[in-house]
C-alpha cells in the first residue's frame, strides 16, 4: 500500500539522489580548465575512476551495513565488527614484512587486490558460514568471534610492525589508509562483477529482510527459513565489505554512520528504501568529503580521518540517545 509515509520517503530519496548527482558533478568539474581540451580530458580521466570507486564503495558499504544491522537486530552495530578492516591491515603488513615493500605483491595493484579478495573471501566463508552453522546460528557468537578476531589480527599486525624496518613501515602506512586514488579500471570492473554476483545470489534473501526484522520467531511463523536465510545474508554482507575494503582500504566504519542516518531520516522498515538511503548518504559523504580533501586541504588530510572523527562523535551521540541498547 502506498501510504503517505511511503510517498514522503520517496520524495526524500529523490532529493538525496539529486544531491548525489550535484556532488558528483561538483567533484568532476570544480577548478577544471575548460579552455584547454587536452587538460580537460586529462583531469576528467583522473577524476572519473575515483568518482566511480567512491560510488561503488558507498553503495556496498551502505547496503551491507543496513543488512548487517537488520540481521543482528541491533542498529548500533558496525560492520567493523566483522574484522575485515583489521584483516586487510594484517594482510598488507604481512606482505611488506615478508616480501618487502618493493615486492610484486605490494607494488602490483591488481595482484594486491586479488590477494586481499581471496584471503578475505576464504576467511569470511569459513567464519561466517561454517562457524555460524557450528554455533547453532547464534548471531551473538558471530559478533564475539568478530571482535576476538579483530584483536587477534591487530595484535599480530602490531607485532610485525614493531620488528619491521622503519623505512618499510613508512611505505606501508600509506597503504593502510583508505584511499580512492590509483585504482585501475580492471579492479573497478572486477569489484562490480563480484558485487553484482553477490546481490544476484542473495536476491531471494534480500526480499525477506523486512520480515526478518520482526524477530526470529515471527519470521519463522511467517514461513521464513530463518537460520539458512541469516547465514546467507551474513556471508553476503561480509563479502561485500571485503570487496569494498580490498578496493579502497579500511573504511567499513563509514557504514555505521550512513546506515543510521538513513534509518533516522526515513523511519521505515522497508529495506529497499533504507538501503538506497544508506547508499546515497555514503555517496554524499564520500564524494563531498573527497572534494573538501582535494580542494580545501589539498590532500593533507585523508577523507577517512574525517569519517573516523565524525563517525566517532556520531556513534557516541547514538549511544547516548538510544533508549534501550
Amino acid at each position: 500500500m502506498k501510504t503517505a509515509a511511503y510517498r514522503s520517503n520517496v520524495k526524500k530519496l529523490t532529493v538525496m539522489a539529486v544531491l548525489v548527482l550535484a556532488a558528483a558533478a561538483a567533484y568532476m568539474l570544480v577548478e577544471i580548465n575548460f579552455s584547454n581540451s587536452r587538460l580537460l580530458k586529462y583531469a576528467l580521466s583522473l577524476r572519473a575512476p575515483k568518482l566511480i570507486v567512491m560510488l561503488i564503495t558507498a553503495f556496498s558499504i551502505g547496503g551491507a551495513s543496513i543488512v548487517f544491522q537488520s540481521v543482528i537486530n541491533n542498529t548500533i552495530v558496525t560492520p567493523c565488527l566483522l574484522g575485515m578492516n583489521s584483516l586487510y591491515t594484517l594482510i598488507h603488513t604481512a606482505v611488506v614484512f615478508v616480501a618487502g615493500s618493493g615486492s610484486i605483491i605490494a607494488v602490483n595493484a591488481n595482484l594486491s587486490f586479488a590477494v586481499d579478495v581471496v584471503i578475505m573471501g576464504v576467511v569470511a566463508t569459513v567464519i561466517y558460514s561454517y562457524l555460524f552453522k557450528k554455533t547453532n546460528h547464534n548471531v551473538l557468537y558471530v559478533l564475539l568471534i568478530g571482535t576476538v578476531l579483530t584483536s587477534f589480527f591487530s595484535s599480530i599486525q602490531t607485532t610485525l610492525t614493531r620488528v619491521m624496518d622503519p623505512n618499510e613501515y613508512d611505505t606501508l602506512l600509506t597503504s593502510l589508509v583508505a584511499s580512492f586514488s590509483n585504482i585501475n579500471s580492471e579492479i573497478i570492473v572486477f569489484s562490480l562483477v563480484l558485487l553484482a554476483a553477490i546481490i544476484f545470489a542473495l536476491r531471494r534473501e534480500l526480499a525477506l529482510l523486512d520480515v526478518l526484522t520482526l524477530g526470529k520467531e515471527q519470521a519463522i511463523n511467517l514461513g521464513v527459513n530463518y537460520d539458512k536465510c541469516i547465514r546467507k545474508l551474513l556471508l553476503g554482507v561480509t563479502l561485500c565489505i571485503a570487496v569494498a575494503t580490498a578496493m579502497v582500504g579500511p573504511i567499513s566504519f563509514l557504514g555505521l554512520i550512513i546506515a543510521n542516518l538513513s534509518r533516522q531520516l526515513l523511519k521505515t522498515y522497508r529495506h529497499s528504501l533504507l538501503i538506497l538511503g544508506s547508499a546515497f548518504f555514503g555517496m554524499i559523504v564520500l564524494v563531498g568529503g573527497q572534494l573538501i580533501v582535494e580542494h580545501v586541504y589539498s590532500y593533507a588530510v585523508p577523507v577517512s580521518v574525517f569519517i573516523t572523527v565524525g563517525g566517532g562523535v556520531y556513534f557516541l551521540y547514538l549511544l547516548m540517545t538510544e533508549k534501550k541498547v
Partner: protein, 250 residues
Amino acid sequence: MNVKELTKVYDGKTVVDQVSFQIPKGKVISLIGPNGAGKSTVMGIISRLVARDGGDVEFEGKDITKWKSRELSKRLAILTQTNNIQMKLTVRELVTFGRFPYSGGRNTPEDEAVISKAIEYMELQEFEEQFIDELSGGQRQRAMIAMVIAQDTEYVLLDEPTNNLDIYHATNMMKIVRRLCDELGKTVILVLHEINYAAFYSDYICAFVDGKIAHFGTVKEVMTKEVLSEIYKVDFQIMNINGRPLSIYY
C-alpha cells in the same frame, strides 16, 4: 494434530518426556502447569520454533518438519510473548505482514481486504496509522492478534497471551480467544498461567507436570479438587459459577 512421544532434552535434563496427545479441531485447548513443566517447550515444538529430540508431531497427515515452511505458515500461526519489534512499524504495516505467506510481500487487493477486515475485527481502525511502539500493551497485543487473523490459519497457537496484561486487558484477550474459535472456527492452543481463565474460556485443558502430561480432558474433568491439588501441590476449592468450574487456591 497428533503429538506422539515428544521428547526434549536441555543440557541432559529432560524437560519434555514422552508427551503424546491429540488436539481436537475447532476447540480452545489450554496448556497449564507449574513453571518449568514443559508446556511452553511443547508449544514451541508443535509450532516448529523449537527443535525436538524425539517423537513425532503429525499435522494434517504429515510430520511438521516435512512441511514446507511457507505452506505451514498458511495453516498454523504462533504468537509468542517476545515481541520486541525494533522497527518503526504502523499497526496496518504489522498486520500486513500476516499476509506474507500468501503474497511474499506483494499484496493483491484481496490481501488488502483481508488486512482491513482483520483490523476491523480487532477494532483497531483508529490506531491503523499509529506506530506500534506508541501503543499500550493491550493495544499492541490486539495488533499482534490482528496479524494472526490476517494470516488466516486454521490453527492459532498463543504462548501466554495474558502475560503482562492487567485484568481488563487479560479478560478481553480471553474473550478474543473465544471469538477466534466460535466465530472464525479456529483451533486455538494456548499456554496459560491463570487456571481460572483456562477453566472459563477453554474447552479442553492439558495439564503438565515435570515434562509429562498429568491430565488431559474437558474442563470439567480436569478442574477437580483432586487433580489440581496433585498438579500444583497446593489446596484447591472448586466453585461453580455460571455452570463453569472456578478454582480458589490458597
